[in-house]
Symmetry: C3
Subunit: 352 residues, 3 copies
């Protein structure tokens, strides 16, 4: 595909292209690896230093004087488009440059299908997949190899479930969702009640999981079903690999949970909440809309909308960095305090 | 089931019911969602504010003056029982209100059974499960779809292994255990010895895993086999999802390990130890009986029985909260120390 | 096998054996459990106290005066070899004392093999494994039960993939690798671009994963494929269970990543980097050769070669322990500062 054809297909005027060449594109590549027939992009400042030497034939770049100045210095033929959101345009370009193979269709002969399961002709059930009784798959749903779908699961149109994932009974999954390999959705939550002998009585978990439309769940992530109600993941929320979502958690729309996050039972998130990797959220905590939590932080208190927090227990990011910088200097402070003690003749056991 | 029948079935006198109605119960629900035909309960203070407006037809509540005062104000018909352990009674009520379907029985035609495997008639082996040679299943054992049970595994009566779990060779699992989907029990531990060329020589792991009776293992949790001995999980211990148990770890009885906990090789826990989510325990550390560790803490030192610790490295919880509160105020301290330096004419490089 | 035969087979002179006996060895065991026909070893000082009472018939011990003094006091028959690397010698002894069973060979009748897959006669494909189209397996490769290998995966000679692992399309795996059960290699990375409506546009992930030779990947670990390039794990690198490797990460040779580590997208490691359990590394961070990171630390900045760091954000280990020790004493400092304030008549709001 010519770059000009791509740009037009992305809904832009091909006149927005700067540079006299119109390369034939064969794919995309990172700035430092791209060649004359590849498209690349710049958005993150971290990669700015790679721009001057890129060999990419086509680029999406931000409107930024420093960037434009570098573009002037590039000697080989390059065509580019200036855009407010280079990464977004690049993502859309990938869809055009790498057309998906036709979606697989049909039920593999080795799949095991339970009684009363509804599987439309446009759906796909892979080799050795096991589909329980009363399962309902929507149009174009893909269940890949070695998945186990327990009884009475409902899966909306065009949702894809990759290999070896497990969906427990009664789970409801919306349309256009993606469940990655090895994920376990709707497993029994961790509900045990201590009794007087110090043993744990199991509270059987009779709730369910609901994933709304356009939800994405990472590989080997676990989402437990509600203890006596629902666990619900809001529309458009994206969850990375190895995340733990306890029973009864709720997320709003369009949240982003990075790898290895853990939500304890009953935690609830507003819309557009972003949690960095390995963040932990305590039982029944509520995070307001648009809260952002830095990686590895531990949330022990409710957070108001738009809070940006960090640390354990977490507090505002900019304060955290101040305290954290001082933490490193505490040994110097110790030396100072010893001088103060001496000068003021105070009790020395306080400092050492 | 009438509430009075339920209460009787739980071993209480139906005279303990307060309130003139005796609702027909159709199930359980959280306080704020329960209706006239549902049972709910109150134990956690966090939910106290939901009591006044609950529409639940039946309740288990604690003996607490504030709670009883609210009960007086509820205008709709409600029947309730006052109990020292509302949650425990509620858990037992769920078992009665939601009778389990009859346990599945028999070997699915698509399962692959190894030579010499012993599978009693009361056991269940699901579709596409693979059972190794010499495996011994007890009465009523359930092996769900797509599980892989390697050779010579022994599984005690009535243990359930959910879908796509993997049990490696020689593992011994007690009776009444539950292994959730995707768990990997008895995988080879992480044993590598550095040599002088900077490469890692593998120490083959020739030990095994023993799970005692009534152990529960969460989804996608990994328990490595002993390097040259056992990894052992004590009776009644409950382990949540995505937990990592290294080779040679030992837990006592009735421990509780929340999600994403990691025990390094050789760590050992006494009885009734409770670890919060994402806690890490270093190599060969011992935690005494009843130690409690707050979520995300890192344990680098042995802990005496009954210790309650937090932080990284962990120390007593109440001290941690004091230090942690001061951590947030360090920037204020910095301003104070600058004044002190100035007033006492001390070297200023210590503070900034 | 006689101890003398073992020592000779390990390439040492049997004259290096000290002690007049030459036990017939039946296996290995930890110091405190070993008996007269078992080999054990001492390397870690933590186990020194177990030496005096060990019942082991044979030992590998370090050259250390304290150790040798204890050996003098052992009254039962024991034969031992003094070596600079007892654990390494012990690891090699295990290989000799526990010969592997003959490797399985052949394709199980229940496996599903895609079009054009190349499977040599020396390879093994277990029950219910699913092999995609165009997959190429090397000599002696083992694919265990219930694995899913997507299309066009290439796997080098003698690599073993344990049960229920998933390898996504186009992944390249070197020779002599080990992939443990439930691992997911080559899944789609977590690439989402925010748009102006607050929703997330997916950036389809068109890169791949390359595992070089002798790489080992733990159970339920996830390695995402590159977004537009590669994710690459360097030769001889060993990765433990439940680790998350984001898209576009690179590791050098012979790195060691302990359980539950998380590398964010684009992180890169030099050679021989060692990361403790639950460590997190931020996006696009680079760790130089031989960097060592203590467990649970969070890396927010590039690290120069040989750095040893700890904490969040991480800084040099020895400084961390100093700051950390003071952190515990901050309440005492608070008392001191109150005295200082009073004595110097400073504003009291700074401290409390």
């Amino acid at each position: 595909m010519k770059f000009s054809e791509l740009v037009t297909a992305l809904g832009l005027d091909s006149q927005t292209i700067i540079g006299g060449v119109d390369p034939e594109l064969q794919g995309v590549a990172p700035l430092k690896l791209a060649g004359a027939h590849q498209l690349s992009f710049l958005e993150n400042k971290q990669f700015f230093h790679q721009l001057a030497t890129t060999q990419a034939g086509a680029l999406f770049i931000p409107e930024d004087d420093r960037v434009l100045a570098v573009m002037e210095t590039i000697m080989h033929p390059v065509a580019y488009v200036i855009t407010a959101q280079p990464r977004l345009l690049f993502a859309k370009a990938i869809d055009l440059l790498y057309p998906l193979p036709p979606a697989p269709v049909g039920i593999h002969a080795s799949a095991v299908i339970g009684q009363g399961a509804v599987i439309p002709e446009t759906a796909f059930v892979g080799a050795h997949a096991v589909i329980g009784a009363g399962v309902q798959l929507g149009a174009g749903v893909q269940i890949h190899a070695n998945c186990t779908i327990y009884d009475r699961v409902i899966i909306g149109d065009h949702t894809i479930i990759y290999a070896n994932a497990v969906i427990h009974e009664g789970t409801e999954i919306g349309r256009d969702c993606v469940i990655h390999s090895g994920a376990v959705i709707g497993g029994e939550g961790f509900g045990f009640v201590p009794d007087r002998e110090g043993t744990w009585t199991k509270m059987r978990q009779v709730g369910k999981v609901v994933l709304e439309d356009q939800v994405e769940i990472g590989s080997n992530t676990c989402i437990d079903r509600g203890s006596i109600g629902e666990t619900r993941i809001g529309q458009g929320t994206k969850i990375d690999n190895l995340v733990q979502i306890g029973h009864g958690c709720m997320t709003g729309k369009n949240c982003l949970l990075a790898g290895q996050v853990g939500l304890s039972g009953g935690a609830s998130l507003g819309d557009n909440v972003v949690l960095g990797g390995q963040v932990g959220v305590a039982n029944h905590i509520h995070l307001g809309d648009r809260v952002m939590v830095a990686a590895q932080s531990g949330i022990l208190d409710d957070q108001t909308p738009d809070a940006k927090v960090m640390g354990y227990p977490a507090f505002p990011v900019k304060d955290f960095f101040k305290s954290s910088a001082i933490f490193r200097k505490l040994p110097q402070w110790q030396r100072l305090l010893r001088q103060v003690q001496k000068k003021l003749d105070l009790n020395s056991e306080e400092v050492d």
